[in-house]
């Protein structure tokens, strides 16, 4: 019997290859007769294409093929959107075609216009420089408010007023009535800033066609290869799904941006048969800025109604969400299903109404980015709560405690049912870790140095473990959201696990191995985890929405249940007892109440060498697959506390401490969880203080298109995080886990901005709170 590993910080199995440079990323894959693609992109935010002259480019050395939007046959569809939102008018959202290459018009800077395939990447790029595109520039809109203004330029003729949909959730009449009798109303209006994901590995693909069996193989930096394949074959290219193998090998970060089906890999697959050679494309960093799906970009008006004691009566939210120029794969569900449903937060607010207007603009498409809708919701709730507390002269913890949900299950007024949680525990924990009691002394000491200190709270909740398929389907999802897992026991008792989840930094190879090893009583190194290859794994939905352990891990547990059940039958046969008398514990099958047993490895061997075996009743082999569809979302929650010190003379903000006390349910690997929290916090703090995608409001040019202008958080921007967890086990999955991947990015922005508002004594400050913005706010507060 080996030691149990769940709850221990087992070192990550995958790190050996990552740290020694022996990982295999898509760009590392080089095929025989490899060719390379380059995409010529629009320099304009909005323009009509009057003509494209390819003559000069065709003459360039090494060129194999050049395609424009005109070369795509009618049978090739546009990139689909996987979630249908139905508007308050009962009409489906507007879904203008998203062509693989621009057809007649370009709609954002970076919109691909032509694809050049050549012997080398440089030859393709050189040739692309010779393509002459005759553009007729058109007026562009990049800001949602401009796009909704009367007479705004139309991004798509099919979407009048640039509106994709107007959608609402909640009881408007009850909400309005509660506002009418409120003792106090807190109102805020703010922008949730647009972010560019910036995975360290840029998007990449390598597509090849095999004449021998009329099949395609696509290597692609993807978070969900089966979804990629399904969308590409069934909705765009019309290829037979079973003849396309999609492999997502090591992937260097996704944060959402690699969930989607993009034009580049689809074009490479399509062209690989025509060109007759494998085609590789790896984005240059500038292309990542221009063409990866961005995140956030909301303009919101939010109101909270309270009674005289600070009890929340109702919340009213109106959000304009940018979709960018086209609907990306899951764009439509982010500011709706993953946003408005979270507006109850951790509180008993009885009435909530949210209206969301999704808007087309001449910008890169916007879709899920770490947190996806939930950071925006948390920002609304926690900014309102913090502001209301200040306005009503209640302490930040008191106003929260007066409104916390304490009985579970709890049905919110915005469609979710929280299964379990203990919000006081995380608040108490965070306050202790952050030494809130010592804050007044620290503030006074800072004041002596001319510095302003502030404390900001954010008690966030998220809905993770996406998702019950039937609920998602009723809400418009065009896909299921279960997960698949296969446990293949080898004759020697070693195990290979095939999972539909995909690891692009999360450490699944370790965590999933721990789950399997502990259950079977074998070592973590006796388990191998295979993911990311439609040719090897069962049909899986991939990794996003903090779902891998809660959904993918549960599928593995279900497969383990089947392995154990079958193993019991084999063991019962070997020990000549009834299988109901056999129990599996500590890696061996034991006759209940005796010490008679057979070890797991012997059962495995027997399954594959079935000499003494009930062949009349039982198939040989020990290899089981399970699909798991969750019955509810999981609800990780916690409290973050940020302490800032502001230099009012320069507006510089220093985060002196950041505390996160989170409830992720049971923890399999604390080190990995801590790492996930750290990364999420860095991105959340990045949004609050540093990151902001800026398009020129007139020309639509991307002004933050390089790291010279787009500020990513770096180690020295961040404090040493204080993180800890409290546990209420999820009630509806066998591991009792909830998910931890997004929490940091969800909770942090509001904590930072609340801390800044506290330090400066101001009501609001726009994200990213740059030194100039902070300086201006400090100056205005003094005046």
């Amino acid at each position: 019997m080996t030691d149990l590993t769940i709850g221990k910080s087992v070192l990550r199995k995958e790190d050996a290859r990552f740290l020694t440079g022996s990982g295999q990323y898509t760009d590392d894959v080089v095929m025989p007769r490899q060719s390379y693609a380059y995409f010529l992109r629009s320099p304009y935010a909005h323009a009509a294409i009057r003509g494209v002259d390819l003559a000069g480019a065709r003459e360039m050395p090494g060129v194999l093929a050049i395609y424009t939007g005109k070369d795509l046959p009618d049978a090739v569809g546009g990139l689909p959107c996987g979630w249908l939102i139905t508007g308050t008018d009962g009409q489906p959202m507007k879904e203008p075609k998203h062509p693989l290459l621009a057809q007649g018009k370009v709609r954002h800077v970076g919109d691909p216009v032509a694809m050049v395939v050549a012997d080398t990447f440089l030859a393709a790029k050189d040739a692309a420089e010779r393509i002459e595109v005759d553009y007729e520039p058109l007026p562009a809109v990049v800001d949602v408010r401009d796009a909704l203004a009367a007479g705004a330029p139309a991004v798509h003729a099919e979407a009048p007023g640039n509106v994709c949909y107007v959608w609402a959730l909640g009881d408007k009449a009850a909400t309005d009535a509660a506002f009418a009798r409120a003792a106090h109303v807190t109102t805020l209006e703010f922008i949730n800033n647009r972010l560019i994901p910036n995975a360290i590995e840029p998007r990449a693909c390598n597509a090849s066609y095999a004449k021998s069996d009329d099949s395609y193989t696509l290597y692609v930096a993807s978070q969900n290869p089966h979804v990629e394949r399904l969308l590409m074959t069934a909705f765009v290219l019309g290829l037979p799904e079973h003849k396309v193998r999609v492999i997502a090998p090591d992937v260097g970060g996704g944060f959402g941006s690699k969930i989607y089906l993009y034009a580049e890999e689809t074009m490479c697959v399509w062209a690989s048969k025509l060109v007759g050679r494998p085609i590789k494309w790896t984005a240059e960093r500038s292309e990542s800025f221009l063409s990866d799906a961005h995140g956030r970009d909301h303009f919101t008006k939010a109101e909270l109604a309270l009674d005289k004691d600070g009890k929340f009566l109702a919340m009213r939210v109106d959000t304009k969400a940018s979709m960018g120029a086209y609907l990306s794969t899951f764009a439509s569900c982010i500011p709706t299903i993953l946003y408005a449903t979270l507006l109850a937060g951790q509180y008993t607010t009885p009435a909530i109404h949210a209206q969301v207007t999704a808007v087309f603009t001449n910008t890169a498409p916007v879709d899920a980015y770490r947190g996806a809708g939930r950071p925006e919701a948390t920002y609304v709730v926690e900014r309102l709560v913090a502001t209301a507390a200040r306005e009503m002269k209640l302490s930040q913890d008191e106003i929260r405690r007066r409104n916390f949900i304490r009985t579970f299950p709890y049905a919110t007024p915005v469609a979710l049912t929280y299964d379990i949680g203990d919000y006081d525990a995380c608040l108490d924990g965070a306050m202790q870790m952050a030494d809130v009691a010592g804050f007044p002394a620290r503030k006074a000491e800072a004041a002596k140095r001319g510095m302003l200190r502030g404390l900001g709270y954010s008690s966030y909740i998220e809905a993770c473990g996406l998702a019950p398929s039937n609920i998602a389907g009723a809400l418009g999802a065009r896909a299921g959201l279960y997960e698949a897992g296969e446990v293949r026991v080898h004759p020697t008792g070693k195990v290979t696990v095939f999972t539909g989840s995909h690891s692009h930094g999360q450490g699944h190879e370790t965590t999933f191995s721990q789950v399997v090893a502990d259950r079977l009583g074998i070592g973590v190194d006796d388990v191998d985890v295979v993911h990311g290859d439609t040719g090897r794994i069962p049909f899986g939905m991939g990794t996003y929405g903090s779902r891998s352990l809660a959904v993918g891990g549960t599928a593995i547990v279900k497969a383990l249940d089947k392995i154990e059940a079958k193993g019991r039958k084999i063991a019962a046969h070997l020990m000549e007892v009834s299988d109901t008398d056999v129990e599996f514990k500590d890696g061996r099958f034991t006759v209940k109440g005796t010490d008679k047993h057979v070890p797991f490895a012997q059962v495995a061997l027997t399954a594959y060498v079935p000499h003494n075996y009930p062949l009349d009743k039982l198939e040989p082999g020990l290899d089981e697959t399970a699909f798991y569809d969750p019955t509810n979302f999981t609800y990780p929650a916690g409290t973050h506390i940020c302490e800032v010190e502001v230099d009012p003379e320069t507006g510089t903000t220093k985060i002196v401490s950041f505390t996160a006390c989170d409830d992720f349910g049971n923890i399999v690997n604390p080190m990995i969880v801590e790492g996930q929290v750290h990364g999420g916090l860095a991105q959340g703090i990045g949004q609050a203080l540093l990151e902001g995608c800026v398009y020129d409001r007139e020309s639509g040019q991307l002004l933050t298109g390089t790291y010279m202008d787009y500020a990513m958080p770096r180690a020295d921007d961040l404090p040493n995080f204080k993180v800890d967890t409290r546990v209420t086990a999820c009630t509806h999955n066998p591991l009792g886990v909830k998910g931890c991947g997004e929490a940091g990015a969800i909770g942090a922005p509001a904590a930072v901005i609340n801390a800044l508002c506290d330090a400066l004594g101001v009501k609001d400050i726009e994200m990213p709170a740059t030194p100039e913005r902070v300086w201006r706010a400090a100056r205005a507060a003094r005046a």
């Binding site: 790291y707 202008d709 787009y710 990513m712 921007d717 100039e772 201006r776």
Partner: protein, 263 residues
């Protein structure tokens, strides 16, 4: 990047010759190579200066520190001669970019490039240094013309910079959060030739001196002397990172902090 001819001469004379129709000198490549990769510059010939011994080395006496144009930022930061005579200059070099950039980027490359947000121009103008080239000696006041513009001729190579040793000096940099170049940087110095205050990062036409601050400091060397002196924001840069008004404000704050740091 387009194809180009690469040359690595071992004498200055050879570096100055050659018949490429669009020749660029290569120092650490920190700006040039990035520009070539982005296809913003497409030289026909690249002449690598790394083989020229006369562009290397640091020589110091009581009055002057002479630094070869090919000295890397990390070398300047680590030089005991620089640190003991002009600590402000060692600090400045040690605060440029990141470790990789400091190990490749050079003094000459920085000055030839004259990025308006770069740090070295602040020290060169702030100390009143002399730029020595293959053809002439240039006073700092005559060298910088505008954004990315200097008086250097196409085939003129910076060989060294001579910095006078000041009685007191300090450089305070306010970093651009994205690039970590100077959003505003202020260099103050008490030199034999008088008090000098140079501002980098903020000027619409690049690095500049602030006469009013210099006069005030000449009368009284104290942070209070400059804190309330405002530079006009009209000629300062306004961009997505900071308005001219904010940059002007920072000039006064940083000048006072630099004087305090200089002691």
């Amino acid at each position: 990047m387009h194809a180009f001819k690469y040359h690595k001469p071992d004498t200055l004379a050879a570096a100055l010759g050659g018949d490429g129709d669009d020749t660029r000198y290569l120092a650490g490549g920190q700006s040039l190579v990035a520009g070539m990769k982005l296809r913003l510059s497409q030289p026909s010939d690249v002449v690598d200066l790394a083989g020229l011994a006369e562009l290397r080395g640091i020589r110091a006496d009581a009055a002057t520190v002479r630094i070869g144009a090919m000295m890397r930022h990390a070398e300047v930061a680590a030089s005991a001669d620089v640190r003991s005579r002009i600590p402000a200059l060692a600090d400045l070099a040690g605060g440029i970019g990141d470790r990789q950039v400091r190990n490749m980027g050079t003094l000459g490359g920085s000055l030839a490039n004259n990025d308006p947000a770069s740090d070295y121009p602040g020290a060169v103008l702030g100390l009143g240094a002399t730029i020595v080239t293959s053809q002439r000696r240039l006073a700092a006041d005559d060298y910088f013309i505008g954004l990315y513009e200097t008086v250097l001729e196409p085939r003129e190579v910076i060989t060294a910079v001579e910095f006078p040793v000041p009685a007191k000096a300090a450089y305070v940099k306010f970093k651009n959060a994205a690039s970590r170049f100077a959003l505003v940087g202020v260099f103050v110095a008490q030199t034999a030739a008088g008090v000098r205050v140079a501002v980098t990062g903020a000027g619409g036409a690049g690095v500049f001196r602030v006469a009013e601050m210099e006069q005030a400091l000449a009368k009284r060397w104290s942070p209070e002397a400059v804190k309330s002196i405002a530079v006009a924001s009209d000629d300062l840069t306004s961009d997505i990172h900071a308005s001219a008004e904010y940059r002007a404000h920072l000039v006064s704050v940083l000048a006072a902090r630099a004087v305090a740091a200089a002691g």
